[in-house]
């Protein structure tokens, strides 16, 4: 493991139940990070999505990939992240391929397309057992609080 929960929480402003990165297992320079989310059967949202037939919501796949994108941004722009900026997802181009179930280990691969001080573009793959379950391209902005 490269990053534990403590390190992740020092970068991501999210907290339970909306923190979707458990570990960062790979960092390839400023080009790529690989993060993990363990999908627990006890997650509250499975009670309603769907009763008796739990499926990890696609919108949360987007959120998990977006949080992985912030991790990559923090590696490229550490000085800006120290100033606790706010992150706004601006444009999402996504594809959902396979369902994700309780007990799955979700692997999130985020690649740097272009990262600037105030905006970034990332390509993302979400995988379970080596199979791609979702893809997304994000354009997001970074607002620095003065």
């Amino acid at each position: 493991m490269k990053w534990d929960q403590e390190k992740i929480k020092s970068i991501l402003p999210h907290r339970d139940p909306f923190l979707f990165i458990d570990e960062v297992i790979e960092i390839d320079g400023m080009q790529k990070v690989v993060a993990v989310k363990h999908i627990k059967e006890t997650e509250k949202y499975f009670e309603g999505h769907f009763p008796g037939r739990p499926i990890f919501p696609g919108v949360l796949l987007i959120e998990a990939m977006a949080q992985s994108s912030i991790i990559l941004y923090s590696i490229v722009k550490p000085d800006i992240v120290k100033r606790c900026p706010e992150y706004y997802l601006g444009k999402v181009n996504s594809e959902f391929i396979l369902p994700v179930y309780p007990g799955d280990e979700l692997i999130l691969e985020t690649t740097n397309v272009k990262i600037l001080d105030q905006a970034a573009i990332t390509d993302n793959l979400a995988k379970v057992n080596g199979k791609v379950v979702a893809k997304a391209n994000f354009i997001f902005s970074i607002q620095i609080n003065e």
């Binding site: 601006g90 444009k91 272009k114 600037l116 105030q118 905006a119 573009i121 354009i139 902005s141």
Partner: protein, 79 residues
Amino acid sequence: MSNSIEVEIRDMVSEILEVPVEKLAPDVDFFKDLNVDSLKAIEIVAAFEKKYRIIVPEEDIPKIRNLGQLIDYTRNISS
């Protein structure tokens, strides 16, 4: 720099900004006149980099404020 590349750049910017090419005069300011924000700016830069297989340094981006400057920038890096 051929006219065809100028047309390519203009069409690319027009598509990203969703602005008709007729409104993309060379001196129309992306930010003041067309309300381009940081998200649209990075989208133009990324598309430009992909198309021409170049890297635009972050410090150069604020200098490119209109279509004419973007075409000039391409002309300079191509020469």
